[in-house]
């Protein structure tokens, strides 16, 4: 079973306690009525669908209940890092360096 580190519980716990919640760092337009249909479509539906390290959201559903962010390699399923939602987006090159 996949083990996931929850940055709020500060514990590494079984995947079954967590739910996946899509790509991370997608900001909702501050003023939705001023954006074009294409921009709104992109916000709602268009995702990067990365093959490799992917910035994504997870929720510790059967635990603290919190959403948090993670970088997971979509090929190997390996988590490079998990971090709190208000933490800055970590630099990928540094994560890859660290995981070697």
């Amino acid at each position: 079973m996949l083990l996931i580190h929850c940055p709020y519980c500060n514990q590494t716990l079984p995947e079954l306690e967590f739910t996946y919640a899509g790509e991370a760092h997608i900001a909702r337009p501050a003023d939705p009525s001023s954006v074009s249909d294409e921009e709104w479509r992109d916000f709602l539906f268009i995702r990067t669908n990365v093959k490799g390290p992917h910035y994504e959201r997870w929720r510790h559903f059967h635990g603290c209940g919190r959403y948090f962010n993670a970088v997971r390699d979509t090929v190997s399923d390996r988590f490079l890092i998990t971090y709190k939602t208000d933490d800055p987006r970590p630099e990928l090159s540094k994560l890859l360096e660290k995981s070697k």
């Binding site: 079973m1 709020y8 519980c9 500060n10 514990q11 716990l13 079984p14 995947e15 079954l16 306690e17 559903f61 059967h62 635990g63 603290c64 209940g65 919190r66």
Partner: protein, 183 residues
Amino acid sequence: MTVLTHAFTPGPIVASGQVKLTLMAPVARFSLRLRAANIPAVSKAIGVDLATTVGARAANGTTESICLGPDEWLIIAKPDDTETVTNACADVYASATHSLTEVSAREVTVRIEGERASELLTIGCPRDIDSIPVGGGCRTVIDGVTVVLWRDAEQSFRMDIWRSFALHIIDLLCTGCKEFAAE
């Protein structure tokens, strides 16, 4: 082995063997949400020093608390103390904003104890039970159902289960007890 119904009459469910299951008497339950700055004021009001580490517990007499998330606690008290807790929190609300919701009827609690109690939990709980310290607890999952687990002693646990899932989970635990007995 007792057949349990939705009446949830407290008493023994599995009375003998390596693990005993008991449906516990009703308690007052509260869901408490608040920001870090207001922890001291609310702790003082309810008379329990709220812990700030997820999974950590604190108690004062029969009033108990467990930290379930960075801004979330579960408070347990005697049914007679329901109003005391509610009023104490209401009194500090103006200066220490929080949300206190009484959820007493939401869950039932099962005591799981005996030499193989921790092993029994592995029938549906993916968390490493050994990682839960005595005197600690956690919200976790068992067979797809969210529960709160309190570890009171090495081999004595309480499990708070939402009523509508309780018969299913208790049935599962009974099955585990039967498996132990059949070994």
